[in-house]
Structures are given as C-alpha cells and as structure tokens.
C-alpha cells in the first residue's frame, strides 16, 4: 500500500541503504546511480516516512518556532514570521511546530525539554524576547540544539536575521527634524527587548546629529501595546511644553498616541506628528496613515529558517544576515506647527 524505501531500492536494483543515501543527499553515491534512484522515487511517488526517519536516525526534520506567549500583543508580527518560516520549511522538506512559551516560571523548561526529548527536534527558531532569554539559550545549548534568532540583542555567536533598527530609527527621527520638529518625544518599548534599546539609541543619535539636546522628560516608558501608548501620550500631553512630534517604538503604541491625541482634541498631523515602527497592517488602517519603518517580518522568518537549515544540512555555519529597512513616510507626520 505505501511505497517504501525498499520498494524504490528493488525497482532500481540497488540496496535500500543506497536509496537512503540518495534521500539524505550523501555525497558518496555515483551520479548515475543517484539519477536512477531519483527517477524511481519520482515515478513511484515515494515519500519517506518522517516517523521512521526520526526513529532510526538522529534527525527528525522537525524544527520548532518558539515565541513568547504572555499576551499576544504582536500577533500580526508573529503570524507573518510564522508564515515565512513555514515557507522555508516547505522548500527544504522540514516540518515546523509552533510552540508558544510562557516565560514566567519553569514552564518553558518543561516545554523545551518535551520538544527536544519527545520530538527530537533538529533546531529552533526564536522571536524576541526569547532570543535573549538566558535560561532558555542555556538549556538549548545543553541539549545541543542549534537555534536561529530573529532580531537578537546579542549579535555575535548566533545565527539568524536582524535589521539595523538603530539606523532605521535614526533615519526616521531625522525626517522629523527635517520637518522642523525640535521637541520630539519618544515612547519606549518593553525594557529588556532589543528593539526598545535600538530604537531609543537611534532616537538619541538623531537628536545628537541635529544638535538637539536630549531631554529626559520627553522620553516615557511604554510596553509595546496600544493601551500603553495611550497612557504614555497622556503623560506627554501633561507636560508644560507639548512635543510637536512623537516617535513611538512601535505601531501599536503610535496608534495609541493618535487615539490619545483625538481624545485630547489634538489634530494629527497639524498639531502633532506621530510615527511608529514595524509597518504593521494597522499603520495604513489608521487615519491619517502612519509614518513608520517597514520591517519585513515574513522575509525575516524565512531567512532565519533558511539559515538554520543551512546549518542543519551541514552547508556552512549559518550566518546572522541583515535585511534592509525602509522608511514609510505617510500622512501622520508633517511640518512642525
């Protein structure tokens, strides 16, 4: 009923082991044999059994995508990343298991162990903030499971994908400066996220480059959520001298700022310019459309997965590749009032 490796072997007149070699792209197979086997596989529509491969061999052809599951603030982001990862897996005949992790407590240890022991996963792809969660990384290293990180803070010693967020943030704020803004506020993301750090650093860089003194009262804490954007904006609106522009560390918070601006009777962008970061779908669904930085999440997921698979297939060490950003200047920013 099912076409097995043995069937292909018989049809080709070689031993099962040779077919196995072809399947696993081992180099010690004569090209002519390889072609014959490949042809037979094709014509017989042979599909290897992952279960058998996993049981007999050391590889499972399974990778896990780990993500933080505290709430799900950035579900769009995760969905896009996951899509990219699946894309790459598909191309390389890997399968992916999605695995939300709660960072609090020991839960994540159990989960990771389960993945490693039960499923024998070959590798892991992670999104922030997991990428820099030391206990997790350590556990993975102990298990000898390779991992690929998306936008990790620690950029050495890891493979994956990143974007020059600091440069991007700087460029964005420079645009605000160009528009004549001097009192530019920033809303920070969650403290231990690399994204928060870089975007803040870029903000400072831009101010410095423009010769605008850094003023701590224009920097308020947020936590990447819409609600935190609203709160942060209210805080800023309570200052004696209102900022003329607000750079929120992500789009959700920027949306919160616009919400709060409406509430307060401020007209965006006439009275206040607002910009975010990420270019989520939300950015173009707000009125006015949000100026932001495009982060190619899908592409990044794909690249991270590809790097991992390069490594798993023994084709080189895997790299930390960088993707380009792109400023999206839209109508939420305008000349300073």
């Amino acid at each position: 009923m099912r076409v097995r490796l043995e069937d292909v072997a018989r049809a080709t007149g070689v031993s099962p082991k040779t077919v196995s070699r072809v399947l696993n792209e081992e180099s010690s197979v004569k090209e002519s044999t390889r072609q014959k086997v490949l042809a037979a596989m094709e014509s017989m529509n042979y599909r290897p059994s992952p279960a058998a491969r996993g049981l007999a061999g050391s590889r499972s052809f399974l990778v896990a995508m780990l993500y933080d599951n505290n709430d799900n603030p950035a579900s769009t982001y995760l969905a896009e990343v996951q899509d990219g990862v699946l894309d790459a897996c598909d191309a390389h005949r890997y399968s992916m298991m999605a695995c939300p992790l709660r960072m609090r407590g020991q839960d994540f240890i159990r989960r990771v162990d389960a993945l490693v022991f039960d499923h024998h996963i070959d590798g892991v792809i992670m999104t922030p903030p997991l990428t820099d969660y030391a206990p997790l990384l350590q556990r993975l290293k102990e298990h000898g499971v390779p991992y690929s990180s998306i936008s990790p803070v620690q950029r050495d010693s890891s493979i994956g994908v990143c974007m020059d967020e600091q440069q991007a943030a700087k460029a964005l704020v420079m645009q605000l400066v160009e528009l004549g803004h001097r009192r530019i506020a920033h809303i920070l993301g969650i403290a231990n996220h690399g994204a928060s750090r870089w975007r803040m650093a870029g903000y400072k860089d831009a101010l410095a480059a423009a010769g605008i003194p850094f003023d701590a009262q224009y920097v308020v804490q947020g936590e990447f959520s819409f609600g935190s954007g609203v709160l942060a904006a209210r805080e800023l609106f309570a200052l004696p001298e209102l900022p003329t522009a607000i750079f929120a560390a992500n789009d959700d918070m920027a949306a919160g700022v616009m919400w709060a601006a409406n509430e307060r009777g401020l007209k965006v962008p006439r009275d206040l310019s607002v910009c975010g970061f990420d270019d989520t779908p939300l950015a173009t669904q707000l009125w006015p459309p949000l100026t932001t930085v495009r982060q190619p999440s899908r592409e990044m997921g794909k690249l991270a997965a590809l790097q991992l698979m390069e490594l798993l297939r023994g084709r080189g060490p895997g790299l930390l590749v960088q993707v380009p950003y792109a400023l999206q200047m839209r109508e939420s920013t305008a000349r300073a009032p």
Copy 2:
C-alpha cells in the same frame, strides 16, 4: 539514556505491552496495575516517543490546522485560533502542525496528501473558507481523516464550533435601529464565506423586524479587507441619500469605512455610525472605538480542537458546539443625525 517503555515495564514488573496499554488508556487493564504503571512512569519521568508510536501504531498524535493563505488579511484571527488549538493540543498531549493552504490550483491536494501520508496526521482542524471547500473535504473523506470545522457553512454532518452569527448581526443592526437609524447600509464580505451570508441574513432580519424596506443600493460588495471597506464606503458616499449607519461585515472593513469617512470629512459617529464584526484588537485601536460583535476566536479554536480529540480518543462522536456572541457597543455608533 532515554527512558523507554521497556524500562518502565521492567521497573513495574509487567510486560511492555501492558505499559503500552496504560499509555493508550485501554480499558482492559486492572486498576491496581494501572496505578503501579502510572506511578512508575511518573517517577521515572517517562515520555513516549512520538516517532516510535507513529511508526508502530496507527496513530500519530498529530493534528493539522489548515487555513487559507491567500494573503493574510485576518492574521489576528488566525493567530488567536491557533493559540486556542495549541492550548487544547497541549492538554491532550497532541502536537499540532500549522499548514497554510493556497486554494488556487492543485497545490492543496499535494499538501493534504503529504500531511496524510508523510505525517499520518490523525485529524484536521480548519478555518473558513476551507471548511466548505468541497474538493478538500472530499479528499479528507477519501483518506478517512476526521476533521473539525470552525464556523462551517454546512452545519450538519460536521463537528467543530460555530456561533450564531446571523442572530448576532441581527441584534447589532437592531441596536442601530434603536438609535433611530433608518438608512442602514451593509458591506458584504467575500461571497462564498459563510460569515458573509449569515451577517447579511441577520442584517435583513433586523430590517424586516423593524419594518424598514430592504434597499439593494445600500448593500455593496466588499472582501473583508481594509481596502475593500474604503472602496465600498466611497461607493455608498456617492449615493444621493447617504446612509446614516454602515454595518460592515467585519472590523477591517469597518476601519476602512471610518478611514473613508475621514477622507470625506464625515465625523463618526456624529454624521455616520459605523459598526463591524469580530471584535479584533483593531476595534479598540480606532478612534472612536468601534461598535462590533465579539467573536471568541481563541476559545473557538480550543473547542474545535477539543471536539476533534474527543472523537479521536473514541469518547463519543464529537459535536458541533455553539459559542455565545456578545455585542460590544462602543463610540462609533450614536443616535441618527
């Protein structure tokens, strides 16, 4: 190194097969034996190997979540559903594979076959519009793979979860009527989605109940996306007599309507009431916050998965359960001008 079933057997003094029986919750094991085995498993921290179970047995303890991947308009929705599904899987020691399907062409056949043959998946969970895609359903039936549907159009003969969307839509539009609206427009979703049908039907029900004659010019086609909402709204704004309220078939389109209203200089809700459906995060991130219907996507994913697993475990036939809706009256709707 790894604790195997055999180790547990030896420790308990029974045969491996008996341990296997306990593992699989077969009924023909004496309670006292069961307890002993269970205790040993626990203390030895035994974890069965999915690969071995899949290879030897007929079950894989794998379910697949299938979803449509045309673009990814409703990524929030899918992310929530997936989260719920994973939750349920976790509780029942199943694993889940996410599997985006492109409905165009034959691609999906290949993919489904791959899932069934390669991974021996035990069952499938689907989201609209896959739930009613005949070729897919047929293929699954041919393979004898049970499936659980989320909001299927065909409500007989399938297990899964649904919501009374028609009733919900009716109730929502009734609220508009209560607010004094008479010219209420509706923006349709994608044609073959059940959601489009039900929401439209509810809209008609409400008009009928209120004695308002149905006027076809107030119903325009959309496709669930923000952009289509904008276009549809512009169409409505070109009518000689503008509607005073617009019920969009989902939140994204409602956001598009609000965008178009802004563009046109209409003030929501003063000049125009707007409402959507789904209660995505977007709904509370718009200004003003959007009146809509809460659909518990996460819960629905979980329930659909649970129903499937009930079936798989042979605990009853599995049902099509219904979840309650909840109107979310917010500031995007107000008394008719």
